[in-house]
Symmetry: C2
Subunit: 357 residues, 2 copies
């Protein structure tokens, strides 16, 4: 294993120390338990947004802490869920009295620990709502997941809901918006190569010299299919058409009902993409794929969307939710409405996303 690290035990801490040194105008880092938070937090009267998950997906989530996006991010060890005490301490640090929204990618450990953190916060009179992101259409149930995995839509939800919180939405409104972004957002990825987790020191899985895997998870979880290497156009078409034609995914969503003081469940079904829809097209590098190749993917994606009469009105292209050094990419399409477009365009100032300010 060749990596720019000092010791595989310290990669998360040292990377956080580097972030803290690099961006003192935007973020602070709390150690033991670890979380990254906005220098301005707590902001009285603003809903606080928190996300988190295993490290190894940078810039997500720590790179998205700042004005117009997250108030705090809780990084676990590489590909390992953060713990409830991290989430609770982060919530206590950033709550401004208007409640906390946890944006949680659907991996069993993350879900369980964020639920526990929410209950602990409630016992300290901080109202918390958790919204799950489960946008990966590739597979249902996976190595670490019941249902679908949470991937690219997480980045978009953090941006859109971060803007909403900044504009004064209350907790229920931000939560409803986040749920809607999740239902409207669909993703699928693929890998050319495996990633290597520092603590393990060898590739997570192996792919032959002429093999790729479609529908891969961001921790290298099995996807839909191993297949021989194809052209960028063929791969893009395979992913994009799968996303666009995905239909009727229904899951049971478990959310906190503040009035009843208990978790309640409801069934929710994703809306389908329809001719005439406006979409945000997000082409994401898994980490090791050059930008030039992402543009080759985008070229074909734009062509497919045009054919399917989906109007790409916003896009995001680059490494935003990665899997260490994995080569590959994912596509996320998010069906937009006027409100989401306005919130997407709103100013953001974080280490990894910045515009308008």
């Amino acid at each position: 294993m060749k990596k720019l690290i000092n010791n595989s035990d310290n990669v998360v801490r040292e990377s956080l120390e580097g972030m803290a040194a690099a961006h003192p105008d935007l973020i602070k880092v709390h150690f033991d338990p670890h979380f990254i938070y906005r220098v301005e937090a707590p902001i009285p009267g603003k809903v606080a947004l928190i996300s988190g998950g295993g490290s190894g997906h940078e810039p997500m989530h720590g790179g998205f802490v700042g004005l117009g996006m997250l108030d705090a991010a809780c990084p676990g060890e590489v590909f390992t869920s953060p713990t409830p005490d991290q989430m609770l301490e982060a919530a206590k640090m950033v709550t401004g009295g208007a409640g906390v929204l946890n944006i949680v990618k659907n991996y069993s450990g993350d879900v369980m620990n964020f639920e526990m953190a929410a209950e602990l916060a409630h016992s300290e009179d901080i109202l918390v709502r958790n919204i799950l992101i489960d946008d990966d259409i590739a597979v249902k149930d996976s190595l670490y997941t019941q249902g679908r995995r949470g991937v690219g839509a997480t980045v978009l939800a953090e941006k859109i809901c971060g803007a909403a919180a900044q504009q004064g939405y209350d907790l229920k409104q931000v939560a409803n918006l986040c749920r809607q972004v999740n239902l409207n957002g669909h993703s699928m990825g693929m890998a050319l190569t495996s990633c290597t987790v520092p603590a393990k020191g060898s590739p997570t899985f192996s792919l032959g010299d002429d093999e790729i895997e479609s529908g891969i998870g961001i921790h290298g979880e099995p996807g839909r299919q191993r297949m021989s290497l194809k052209s960028a156009d063929e791969i893009t078409e395979m992913l994009a058409v799968s996303i666009i034609e995905d239909r009727d995914y229904t899951r049971t969503v478990r959310e906190w009902d503040a009035d009843k003081g208990e978790w309640v469940e409801q069934e929710l079904t994703d809306p389908a993409f329809e001719s005439g829809d406006r979409v945000l097209a997000f082409v994401n590098s898994m980490g090791g794929t050059p930008l030039s190749e992402l543009y080759i993917v985008y070229r074909k994606l734009a062509e497919i969307c045009e054919k399917k009469k989906l109007q790409i009105v916003r896009n995001l292209i680059g490494p935003y939710i990665t899997s260490l050094d994995m080569q590959g990419f994912s596509i996320t399409l998010l069906k937009l409405d006027d409100e989401m477009i306005q919130l997407w365009d709103a100013p953001v100032k974080t280490p990894a996303l910045r515009w308008g300010i």
Copy 2:
């Protein structure tokens, strides 16, 4: 070779088509000859900034076309100089009557072709000045270079001079500023792995499983030394100290004298870093290195700068001048003055760098 491409002959064109599709609000792409240019160009009375070079270093240069940075970028084939006709056509497209500054990385093909393009432009009454960037302290003379190679300082020069042009500096002023940024900026890189050029299909060079190369060029040109893998801290210290302690590099600079109507030469020597200097610290990924590792590097770099009493007042961390899928990084330190800081902070809106707008 596993890459997200369709055909190795078309990677540059298809990637440009993707860029054009993705950023119609910022750039247009002219094909045959290829160049990327600002949608607003030509801007009357503004000095036009052009850069260019071989493809494979994305986002440089095409990703830096837009408000507050470049007016046009001329991409060659992968790791191959663009041609004088590209540069001339780009100059004709973007000149607003106040002259054109070509920012040229010091590689023999780029230098020769940009000089020829300048002469052709002069014969069409477009005044052009070329400023060379030769900031790579690793080696003197290299595979494609007389003198030192141009690397990370190019990105910084494009940002700072782009802001100056936007603020109304005239051609001589922008050229003087660009020359000063180059003299003040020093870089060195290293590689953990080779890159693979699509047309070749196999790694450019080979490194053992436990080997790295310090001082590598952005096309895989030989560096200072092959050595066994070291810790991120050791590598960062090796590069940073080499940069900070570099002294008295002198080269003969050849620039166009508009009054005399000929190329004139002068000797220029880099200033040394001195205790108390304010610097911009740029930690750049060669393409395949995860952001988390760049922060581990930055952590050590900040410590070294503090020890050497260099005050990091601005930074840039990410993949900005890459070598396809190469794993590795480079450090650039640029000695700043008030003028450069103000220009660095000025609004920029390009596909790859954006703030303040």
